[in-house]
């Protein structure tokens, strides 16, 4: 690699070359202000950074997708796996007892067949039930879907929703700060009442009849007071016309009144609203 007559220079040259690179690295570190960032977007995001801390204490019960999906996947594996396992066990037994008890084995086989038949029937029943449940859900979802398509969705809303999603993911790491939430509870209640009043003004009460029906809605709110997605009906009043009326009222009430404090806003991000359209107060 090196010529013989260059050997005497090689060490000095090596040191110099390392020195050149060290100088470059130092120049890079000093001359570049690597910390420079764009102030606008930072300000925007810092406002959001404070939210998860306060959001964490409010225990959010797992949202409805868990409820929806629970019945469908669980029974299936149980039903499908059981007969197989039984069969395996029985086969093992068969091999052991073949020499000794042929008769018993025949009886067992008969029993087994019976069992299998019974299980098949059960399975069929369960599947029928599941189908029914699914169909109901599909029927419920249909009107919602139609509305979804008509709902306006501008870029700002989408962006906010994206950030909310991101923060919800990060939320798991952050520990609860309970005391603050307790202090804010009064204000939260006040604004919940304000929201109810505003919605009530938009409900077509004739659709809900004379009684005192009670509905529960799950509403996702953006910090601007606008809805993030459609309100989800958790507890129906029993009257689909009334449910629809309240849902339309919620959507018509946009933007919903929210506290100006960012920390409190977070409590309204996922709001469970109990609503009595005919209740005066």
């Amino acid at each position: 690699m090196l010529r013989q007559r260059e050997n005497k220079d090689s060490f000095k040259a090596g040191v110099l070359s390392v020195a050149v690179h060290a100088v470059l690295l130092i120049a890079l570190l000093i001359s570049f202000n690597w910390k420079t960032t764009h102030p606008v977007s930072i300000a925007e995001v810092e406002l959001w950074d404070s939210i998860p801390n306060n959001l964490a204490p409010k225990p959010l019960p797992p949202p409805e997708p868990v409820v929806k999906e629970a019945p469908t996947p669980e029974p299936k594996p149980v039903v499908e796996e059981k007969p197989k396992e039984d069969a395996k066990v029985d086969i093992a037994l068969e091999k052991k007892q073949k020499e000794l008890e042929l008769k018993k084995l025949e009886q067992k086989k008969a029993e087994e067949d019976l069992k299998k038949e019974r299980e098949k029937k059960e399975q069929a029943l369960v599947q029928k039930k599941q189908l029914a449940v699914l169909q109901e859900e599909v029927n419920k979802d249909k009107p919602l879907k139609d509305k979804k398509e008509t709902q306006k969705s501008n870029d700002a809303l989408k962006k906010l929703a994206q950030e909310m999603l991101d923060e919800d993911k990060a939320q798991g790491n952050q520990q609860a700060i309970g005391a603050k939430a307790a202090a804010n509870a009064g204000v939260v209640g006040e604004y919940q009442n304000k929201i109810r009043t505003k919605i009530r003004g938009n409900v077509n009460k004739t659709l809900c009849g004379d009684g005192n029906p009670e509905l529960k809605f799950d509403i996702d709110l953006l910090p601007t007071g606008q809805l993030n997605g459609n309100p989800k009906l958790i507890k129906s009043s029993g009257n689909s016309a009334c449910d629809g009326a309240v849902e339309r009222a919620i959507m018509a009430s946009e933007p919903l009144p929210l506290p100006s404090d960012a920390a409190l806003k977070s409590q309204f991000r996922n709001l469970k609203l109990t609503f009595r359209p005919n209740d005066g107060n």
Binding site: L2, R3, R5, E6, D9, S10, K12, A13, G14, L16, S17, V18, V20, H21, L24, L25, L28, L29, F32, W34, K35, T37, H38, S41, I42, V45, D155, K158, K159, Q162, D166, A170
Partner: protein
């Protein structure tokens, strides 16, 4: 989130956050850069020495007068003569050897001395040209290596972007900055190598012209002597 990444964009975190191919590219570039600078410094020293040697020898040759004395002074020296001195030594040795054989023609003696000088001249030129091809390839190839690292890094940055509904600049910016470090290092390796290559090439050319003209002049002197 991406904002926190944007906050500590020190060069170290950029390099540490880069993907493996980009890091490999960076490592290759840094090593080639170290080597090319090493060769540059070696070359600077050796070419400078060759120039001062040529200067000193020419001075001694044109003022000294007696060639025999000059030759003895060179051979008496402990280490082998280099550059112009070695050409002179080879030519004069060959000339003296042929001179001792009485029945040789003058043109044959001159031809022999000339061949010996030509051979030494080629050896010297090879010595001077050493490492120049390496510098040339570093100068032409390392920008491409850096570019490869950059393209790879940017590809990764945009692939990460595809999972996000609302694309913001802050989500790609760190990845692109990371990737551009590769180009920067590639250019840092290439520019000095190209500059040094051109400088050394011209120095070697001038030295070779100098050696050649010395050879012609020395041949003339030998011819006059015989």
């Amino acid at each position: 989130m991406s904002v926190s990444v944007a906050n500590d964009m020190s060069i170290f975190s950029l390099v540490a956050g880069a993907s493996l191919p980009v890091q490999l590219v960076l490592a290759v570039l840094i090593i080639t850069s170290l080597f090319s600078w090493w060769y540059i410094f070696i070359k600077v020293a050796s070419i400078k020495r060759a120039e001062t040697d040529a200067e000193a020898f020419e001075h001694a040759f044109w003022t000294g007068g007696d060639l025999n004395k000059l030759f003895e002074g060179l051979t008496a020296d402990r280490h082998k003569p280099q550059g112009m001195a070695s050409i002179f030594e080879a030519g004069f040795k060959e000339y003296a050897r042929h001179k001792q054989q009485v029945r040789m023609e003058v043109s044959d003696v001159m031809e022999g001395a000339r061949r010996a000088m030509r051979a030494t001249y080629n050896r010297e030129l090879d010595e001077l040209d050493a490492h120049l091809p390496f510098l040339a390839s570093v100068g032409s190839v390392s920008p491409y290596i850096g570019l490869f690292g950059t393209v790879w890094g940017i590809m990764n940055a945009f692939r990460g972007l595809s999972n996000v509904a609302q694309a913001t600049l802050s989500q790609v910016a760190p990845g692109i900055a990371e990737a551009l470090v590769a180009t920067a290092i590639g250019l840092f390796a290439a520019i000095p190598a190209v500059v040094a290559y051109n400088r050394f090439a011209s120095s070697v050319d001038r030295l070779s012209v100098r050696y050649e003209s010395f050879m012609e002049e020395f041949t003339n002197i030998l011819q006059r002597k015989s």
